[in-house]
């Protein structure tokens, strides 16, 4: 073993800082588990399956877990096709000038703070949803349970729409990168047998970048699940069984929004506080799992393909 040199100190000193990431993730899990323990031991599995939310009847997180899943699903269903269209357009079809301008605008969409999407959602998108989507549909199909609800536009659909708008930049720009990193030999092979540009995209580019695009969509899903303030302002903030997502046009709640709405006012040591930290723990676990999958998919694809090009 060598003497500890100044280089060794520097190397292991910087390692300590780098390790802080692992420390933060580990500590977060520990803190949430410990804080949620009173609620988890008292309610057991019914914490995940219960729908009540008050001190008398107990706490169950099911409506909020489902609320998160429903809003995120709406976001994915609307956001992924549009993002893919943008990515294909930018990577394979657009002239250079348009490509540069649009890429920059897409990046700017990603830079707009969540609370501003929320404000716009509350004062602009909500009115649009109420007037042009909700009222016409309820006028014709209002008897269907999935379309029942109040007419203020504060509902699952508005929340899902704003999430779709917010995750499009993420999915579009990563999908575009994945497509750009497809080797040109793939495209040339298709062109050489007389394929049109769209056929090249379909046969060479899309099939080659499938798992990377999937990774980008999973990353978008992770964003949608964790997104908070914009959703808080447009989802209406119901609690208990009435927050169950039984209709698109009903006020609801997600895991992240109930934290914003209730955590800072929960009494220290109360069961409600423990239940809220339990919701935080579930959100932590889901977000962690999704992001691990997404990183594996995206980073592996980009790494392998960048390596192949060099």
């Amino acid at each position: 073993m060598k003497h500890p040199s100044s280089d060794g100190v520097f190397r292991y000193g910087s390692l300590v800082f780098a390790l802080s990431v692992i420390g933060i993730i580990g500590l977060s899990m520990l803190v949430l588990v410990r804080g949620a323990l009173p609620a988890l031991t008292k309610f057991g599995f019914s914490f995940l399956s219960g729908t009540n939310w008050d001190a008398a009847a107990g706490f169950g997180a099911l409506p909020y877990i489902l609320g998160t899943l429903v809003t995120a699903s709406i976001a994915i269903i609307i956001g992924v096709p549009i993002s893919l269209g943008i990515a294909i357009f930018l990577a394979e079809m657009a002239p250079d000038a348009i490509r540069v301008v649009v890429s920059n605008i897409v990046e700017l969409l990603a830079a707009v703070p969540s609370i501003i999407y929320g404000l716009w959602g509350l004062y602009v998108l909500r009115i649009f949803v109420a007037d042009y989507i909700q009222n016409p549909i309820q006028g014709s199909f209002g008897f269907l349970p999935i379309f029942s609800g109040t007419s203020f536009g504060l509902n699952f659909l508005t929340a899902g729409l704003i999430l779709a708008i917010m995750i499009i930049p993420t999915i579009a720009s990563i999908s575009r990168e994945v497509m750009v990193s497809v080797p040109n030999s793939q495209r040339e092979a298709a062109y050489s047998v007389g394929a049109t540009r769209w056929e090249v995209v379909r046969m060479s580019v899309l099939s080659y970048s499938r798992s990377g695009i999937f990774g980008a969509a999973v990353l978008g899903l992770g964003r949608a699940i964790g997104e908070t303030m914009a959703v808080t302002l447009v989802i209406g903030g119901a609690t208990g069984a009435s927050a169950l997502p039984t209709s698109l046009f009903k006020p609801g709640q997600t895991m992240s929004t109930i934290l914003v709405n209730q955590l800072s006012e929960a009494d220290s040591g109360s069961l409600q506080l423990a239940a809220l930290l339990g919701v935080g723990l579930v959100l932590f676990a889901i977000a962690f799992a999704i992001n691990v999958v997404a990183q594996l998919l995206v980073s592996r694809v980009l790494k392998v393909q960048v390596g192949a090009v060099e």
């Binding site: 357009f89 716009w120 769209w198």
Partner: protein, 279 residues
């Protein structure tokens, strides 16, 4: 038929771009139109008025955001830059790969969860919402972003420069700090600026750390206001003046964030590495 499909694909792609632009244009239009009508010197400098009365401004919020961002830079930048140095210069091993992977996971983590963790650790322990708790939460959000951008910038420095410095007998740590880091300076600073713009707009983790306040800064152990938080509180009020003030605060915030983003993009003119994904 094949030509037609080709055309159709092009137009569908263009349509998707237009669909994504409509919200951005609408957001910018509404924020500028409604915000500009509200903003004046008094609005920027004054404390919020009595709830329900159309008076006051967002002075404490602007002050709070500046203090918060300043503290976050002090905590987050050294941590992030040093982590990035480790990953770039010494991270080509299993430990480095694990750290890099978890760093990418943490970078995508919901900021609300980080707020909850800091709330449990700091606010519940010390029984007070505080500026410190808010700065800590924002630092944790900033850390993985800066780590990643620093690593990517340092990796762009050719090895020949490292070799040249070492060949002069300069030690590794001096080489890294004075030669490699200096060469990669503009990339590192760009990453820091984008991370600052990102955390300045964060609101969810602030709800349970600095809480918000009607007053100007009154100590690191007390609650404080910030622009994103003020927008949220105003949006919850049913009065027309609150809506107008919310737009005004939104204009201030969006100007801060977009000026940094557009400025950085113009200054680097497309030489910018991807800040979001690891390409």
């Amino acid at each position: 038929m094949r030509r037609f499909k080709d055309r159709l694909a092009l137009w569908l792609g263009a349509l998707c771009v237009v669909l994504a632009m409509v919200p951005l244009i609408s957001i910018l239009y509404e924020v500028v139109k409604n915000g500009a009508a509200t903003i004046n010197v008094d609005f920027l400098a004054a404390a919020p008025g009595v709830v329900g009365h159309a008076s006051g401004g967002i002075g404490p919020a602007i002050q709070g955001t500046l203090i918060l961002v300043g503290l976050t830079i002090v905590i987050g930048v050294p941590l992030g830059v040093l982590s990035g140095i480790y990953l770039s210069e010494f991270g080509d091993n299993p430990v480095g790969r694990v750290i890099r992977f978890l760093n990418d996971v943490l970078a995508e983590f919901p900021s609300v969860v980080i707020g909850v963790v800091v709330f449990t650790l700091i606010v519940l322990t010390f029984r007070s919402f505080s500026v410190i708790a808010g700065a800590l939460a924002l630092s944790i959000i900033m850390l993985p972003i800066i780590t990643r951008s620093t690593e990517e910038s340092l990796k762009l420095v050719p090895n020949s420069i490292r070799d040249a410095s070492m060949a002069l007998g300069i030690r590794r740590w001096r080489t890294t700090l004075s030669v490699v880091l200096t060469t990669a300076k503009s990339g590192v600073i760009t990453g820091i600026l984008l991370a600052v713009a990102r955390v300045a707009g964060e609101s969810a983790p602030l709800v349970f750390t600095i809480l918000g306040s009607q007053y100007f800064f009154s100590g690191l152990n007390s609650p404080m206001d910030a622009i994103p938080l003020r927008i949220y509180r105003l949006a919850l009020l049913p009065y027309p003046y609150a809506q107008a003030q919310g737009w005004g605060a939104a204009l201030v915030l969006i100007l801060m964030v977009l000026v940094v983003n557009i400025g950085v993009r113009l200054a680097t003119k497309g030489r910018l590495y991807s800040t979001r994904s690891r390409a």
